[in-house]
């Protein structure tokens, strides 16, 4: 594996000195996120999410498959997320590094295991036909905090996506093309979003670390939450030890932040919907 060159110690000292004064190198305050931007593709379910210079493109597609025998009423959600060298030269094709495994696993846990998508609503004909959703993530550039960006991209793509309308008559299934009938949105239970905090020795946590900050930090904490004040996934491995109050403090900050992010997402979706013709009445 290619090892990244460590940043020079003078840069490290500068960053730490600035943080000690509560300042960050890009002019943010400690608990501020970079600017979030969504770029909607031509197709439904194709959204690029940008946080600062980090960019992840999410693409949702659907196909019809046979369900598993033991779960005849459930559809599938597959998440493909392989980080290639396009994001950053430290990632290699075909070989997954530790950080890549963590990102993939966390995404899977936060979207699939928390049942963000109602999988039973993907059933067309019990035991015969169900929808299989495929969420493909393309990591376009890594400027720190890929995970948060990826989770946001995934959720907005799933919300943006619409599957073709189907009609079941007896055993026959008719799939209506989008020209014929307006496609229908997915049933989404809640919107789990990841928030990553970075810790430095003896300093308060910072939200949304940049690449430099995450290489120099003593550890990170990722919490996945939804707007209903629920923690979906919490992952803090190593780094500076924290007391229970510290963790609860971060979680409380997360609650408001996630609400804010969901609001931004909904606004972007609303704006996109106005510019697009999906439904013909």
């Amino acid at each position: 594996m290619v090892r990244e060159v460590d940043p020079p110690s003078i840069q490290k000292d500068f960053l730490l000195a600035a943080l000690a004064e509560g300042k960050r190198l890009d002019g943010r305050i400690p608990l501020e996120q970079r600017k979030i931007e969504f770029i909607f593709g031509d197709e439904l379910g194709n959204v690029e999410c940008r946080i600062g210079k980090t960019a992840v493109l999410a693409q949702v597609s659907a196909s019809i498959v046979k369900p598993r025998d033991d779960r005849p009423y459930e559809g599938f959600l597959m998440i493909n997320s392989e980080i290639g060298p396009m994001a950053s030269s430290i990632y290699e094709n075909g070989r997954s590094s530790d950080s890549e495994v963590l990102i993939t696993r966390l995404l899977e846990k936060s979207i699939r295991r928390t049942e963000a998508i109602d999988r039973e609503a993907l059933c067309i004909l019990a035991g015969e036909k169900v929808w299989q959703l495929r969420l493909t993530l393309h990591f376009l550039s890594d400027s720190g905090n890929l995970l948060d960006c990826a989770s946001m991209a995934s959720m907005i793509a799933l919300k943006h996506f619409r599957k073709p309308d189907v009609e079941v008559i007896g055993d026959e299934v008719i799939i209506h093309s989008p020209e014929e009938r307006a496609p229908v949105p997915l049933a989404i239970h809640h919107t789990p979003l990841c928030l990553t905090f970075a810790y430095f020795e003896n300093l308060p946590p910072i939200l949304d670390p940049t690449h430099l900050e995450s290489t120099l930090c003593a550890g990170t904490l990722t919490v996945t939450m939804n707007a209903q004040r629920e923690i979906c996934v919490l992952s803090k491995a190593g780094g500076t030890p924290l007391s229970a109050e510290d963790i609860m403090g971060v979680v409380r900050v997360g609650v408001d932040q996630v609400r804010e992010m969901v609001k931004i997402m909904d606004q972007a979706l609303e704006k996109d919907r106005e510019s697009r013709v999906i439904e013909v009445q």
Partner: protein, 261 residues
Amino acid sequence: MSSSRIEILNDGGLRHDARRPYELRSTSFQLNTHPTAEGSSTVTQGLTTVQVSIFGPREPRQRSQASHDKAIINVEVGVVPWAQGGGGIKRVRGDKRLQEIGASIRQTFEPVIMTHLYPRSEITINVQVLSADGGILPTSINATTLALISSGISILDYITSISIGLYLKQPLLDLSFLEEQDLPNLIISCLTNSNKITLAQMETRLHIDRFEEMLNLGLEACKVLKIEMELIVKEQTEKIVERMNVKSIISSNASGMNIDE
């Protein structure tokens, strides 16, 4: 996967293995269970058994990975084929779950091992799960702490780890495999002296207020585990010290005889 056939908590307030909610499974800690490792331990919690062996500090296998000012830590996690009958963990190399467990162990111990004392070297932590019945990660972390102590590598504090589940409104400690499948669970590991958390992992939805309760309960449980672990370590050390004394008595006797002559 979830089998609702088992009763998590019955009318008498007992769990499926007749434990009370806050009761830990029976534990056994053994030190130095590996013949060639620098330090090793076998920890059994309930039906989960994990053996950890520490190799190093030694010359890094890959020179390019060495760091000039601190030791690097490698963690390898293996599960023996018979650890869990049937389903559960697949034993493929490069399994993402095992890789994740390995990464968690490494990140947990990196800030605790005083790596700056061993520059340009490598410490390999080899984790073998001998039987799995839930709580692989907590048991592995507990075993690693003991193995590090037995290897004599400098660490800052004991790290103990425990899983905490939640059934309705009742938190449960130290989950078995069946409970792990059905309940939201949180794994924490903490530095027992400073009461600070180094690792926290949770995978299922949970309301914030319940979370805080579980966190504090887990911290208490970690302290209990530490007391148990310290007991074993002290007992072991006492034995060694005793033997050293015997030796010094013999040598002083021998020298005394020399003077007499």
